[in-house]
């Protein structure tokens, strides 16, 4: 993704409403918290006790933080394999998440799911699965079901650029458009599917937002590295959806810093360059926002240090909880085959 393509598809509006200071600090904390949690997982993962495929969102935090800040607890979220940020952003229980990664009985899925199957129904985080595209119709179904019950919930479906290549994506958009369902399709376009770049998978002359428009769904492409832009478009969009606008697709250009699956660098594979990574790291959503908040006096060293300490303590607690939790008993193998 070049800056040229990005600007060509930038929102028509160039000016974004500035979130109020409280919200800015909340957004910052949310991004930072997601980053710190994943950094801790990165650090611990090589010990080999979190024995499940794990996909890191480091570099992509603004999308989860900006969208989830505009959702209510009663709204639904569903995600895919790279889901930690969405689970955390929606308020998923951190202790249960760490216990799940460690395969413990107190995990959010009793250890039967792992990193790719997080769930927390207490905050309406419906789940996530690694079959690409699979949760798009399930999210549409949650919206369909909530409409059938006259609930006023919005359902946000997070997916990546590759999901837009599946039949499920198109079938789901079609049905959401036919039924005018309150579904927010959130595409995190990080330019790669595993190690395969976008340009061999999708034509250069159309965006994923274009696909949404092709289905008659209001769609737009945005800079996923800008928390202001994500927050602002999400706020307007979700407000319109609550008023009955029907489905919307938001495509956010973003970038993951580490390998597709796992905590390491993958530059040695040669599918992407150091220069490309450097350019995107220079556009780190957290760093840019921190500078802005410092410059405007909303954050200072003291406040940041307190924020960091709080998050670190929360992570310490979650890891201690996970470590103290036992593996599921043998009897769990046969449990939950049927409800």
């Amino acid at each position: 993704m070049t800056t040229e393509t990005l600007s060509r598809h930038q929102l028509a509006r160039n000016e974004f409403a500035t979130p109020p200071p409280d919200t800015r600090v909340t957004l910052h904390r949310s991004m930072m918290r997601i980053r710190r949690i994943e950094e801790r997982i990165r650090k611990l993962y090589p010990e080999g006790d979190m024995r499940c495929p794990t996909h890191f969102s480091i570099g992509q935090e603004a999308v989860a933080a900006g969208i989830c800040e505009n959702l209510q607890r009663s709204d639904y979220v569903i995600s895919a394999h790279r889901s930690h940020a969405h689970y955390i952003g929606k308020g998923g229980n951190l202790r249960a998440m760490f216990a799940e990664l460690y395969g413990k009985v107190d995990g959010c899925a009793s250890g039967k799911g792992g990193s790719m199957h997080l769930i927390d129904l207490s905050v309406n985080f419906l789940g996530c699965v690694p079959i690409v595209g699979a949760t798009i119709p399930i999210g549409v179904g949650a919206a369909f079901g909530s409409v059938l019950q006259d609930a006023n919930a919005v359902t946000a479906v997070f997916f990546g650029d590759a999901a837009a290549e599946t039949g499920l994506f198109h079938e789901s958009l079609n049905f959401a458009a036919v039924q005018q369902l309150p579904v927010l399709f959130v595409c995190e376009n990080n330019l790669y599917s595993v190690n395969t770049p976008l340009d061999v998978r999708q034509p250069a002359n159309r965006t994923i937002a274009d696909l949404g428009r092709g289905h008659g769904i209001v769609s737009s492409q945005h800079d996923g590295q800008s928390i202001e832009q994500v927050y602002d478009v999400a706020r307007d969009t979700i407000a319109r959806m609550r008023a009955g606008s029907g489905p919307v697709l938001l495509e956010f250009m973003t970038y993951r810093w580490f390998e597709h699956c796992g905590p390491l660098s993958d530059l040695h594979l040669g599918y992407r360059t150091q220069q490309e990574l450097d350019e995107w790291m220079a556009r780190c959503p957290i760093k840019a926002h921190e500078e802005l908040l410092r410059a405007s006096g909303m954050l200072d060293d003291h406040k940041l240090a307190r924020m960091e300490a709080e998050v670190a303590a929360e992570i310490d607690d979650a890891i201690a909880f996970a470590n103290a939790s036992p593996f599921p008993p043998r009897s769990e193998l046969a449990n939950h085959l049927y409800a």
């Binding site: 129904l121 419906l126 789940g127 399930i138 179904g141 939950h336 049927y338 409800a339």
Partner: protein
């Protein structure tokens, strides 16, 4: 007092109607469900009665629509999805096998998926390679699904109600040749529990285990065998998974002989599963090797010139039993002529096209 007689398709329609009446969370969705024909009559009139927010048509997008139904069940709905042929549901194998079947287990029981997926299987009248496949064994192979395929109108109604009321995903398979079959069906609400086979006819010489329309073939075979003074016990599986095998084992312990009749193809089919269970658990009771009567391992040809030699019939069941007893066996296939239009229909009520 004569019992009320209904066609199988009317029994299905009545079960759906009752479930829509009893639970506001239940809804029907599927291609053609509200159309004037109403999926061979099984859903006819239900949208008129229950309204367009309970009975839905849908885009031709089986995979996503299965996900939509799943998603709706996660927020409290109880969808009943219908496919006019099992082959169309094959487009949804990803959602059915990866998501629907596993959702409850892989999330540690946090969510449940109360969802019924109706699928039709067919036979004869030129159904051919993509309208005649009996692939119930595929679904039975995926833990987490329940697979139900009743053979009588009574069971169809009672088991469809049980399926819709079940908190798990149920694949409910209907044979097109059963739809016009008549039988006694009680009025109003009743259930037939899932998981329990049924003894259809009692006999001491051989156990015949069957499912769906194969049970009708098995019953016809017992009548032919009775002419030779051979008493066959027919056990209708009704539910493939989960299943209690007690009745089957008891029967084989009594008869010492087992024939399994199944419209699916031979290799990897469900007949082999029943045979394996019996040989594992009642090997000592068997007086001779058990026999499978199935479709052969070919795609189904369309022309009746060939399909006549494809589908197993009651004569195949008779041959299997006679062979076991050391009696002479004729070729069960009867040659077909262009003028003969009786071989590829269940009876004269079936006039095609599908």
């Amino acid at each position: 007092m004569s019992e009320r007689q209904l066609k199988y398709l009317e029994a299905i329609n009545e079960a759906l109607d009752i479930c829509l009446d009893r639970d506001r969370r239940t809804y029907l969705i599927g291609l053609g469900v509200p159309d004037p024909i109403g999926v061979f009559g099984t859903t006819k009139g239900l949208q008129e009665k229950h309204g367009p927010r309970r009975v839905f048509d849908m885009p031709v997008a089986e995979n996503a629509m299965t996900g939509v139904a799943l998603g709706s069940s996660l927020v409290g709905m109880r969808p009943v999805m219908t496919h006019m042929r099992l082959e169309f549901a094959m487009s949804a194998m990803d959602q059915i096998c990866n998501q629907v079947a596993k959702w409850h287990y892989m999330f540690g029981g946090r969510s449940k998926v109360p969802m019924t997926i109706r699928m039709m299987i067919g036979r004869g009248w030129g159904q051919g390679p993509q309208h005649a496949q009996s692939l119930h064994a595929w679904f039975a192979h995926v833990p987490g699904l329940k697979v139900v395929m009743p053979s009588s109108p009574h069971d169809a109604k009672g088991m469809l109600i049980s399926s819709i009321e079940d908190d798990n995903p149920v694949v409910f398979i209907e044979h097109r040749w059963l739809h016009t079959l008549q039988g006694p069906v009680p009025e109003g609400y009743y259930t037939v529990p899932l998981g329990q086979p049924r003894v259809v006819t009692e006999g001491g010489d051989v156990t015949i285990v069957s499912s769906s329309y194969a049970t009708i073939d098995a019953i016809k075979a017992t009548q032919l065998l009775a002419g030779d003074n051979i008493r066959a016990e027919v056990i209708d599986l009704r539910t493939l998974v989960p299943r209690n095998d007690e009745l089957i084992l008891e029967s084989v312990n009594k008869t010492g002989r087992l024939v399994v009749v199944d419209q699916g193809t031979l290799t990897g089919g469900f007949a082999g599963e029943i045979m394996a269970r019996v040989t594992e658990q009642a090997f000592g009771a068997l007086e001779c090797a058990p026999v499978r009567v199935t479709s052969p391992d070919y795609p189904t040809p369309t022309t009746r010139g060939l399909s006549n030699y494809y589908y197993a019939t009651p004569l195949h069941v008779v041959s299997a039993v006679r062979g076991m007893l050391g009696l002479p066996v004729d070729d069960p296939f009867v040659d077909v002529t262009p003028a003969d239009k009786t071989h590829d229909v269940p009876d004269n009520t079936f006039t095609g096209p599908f």
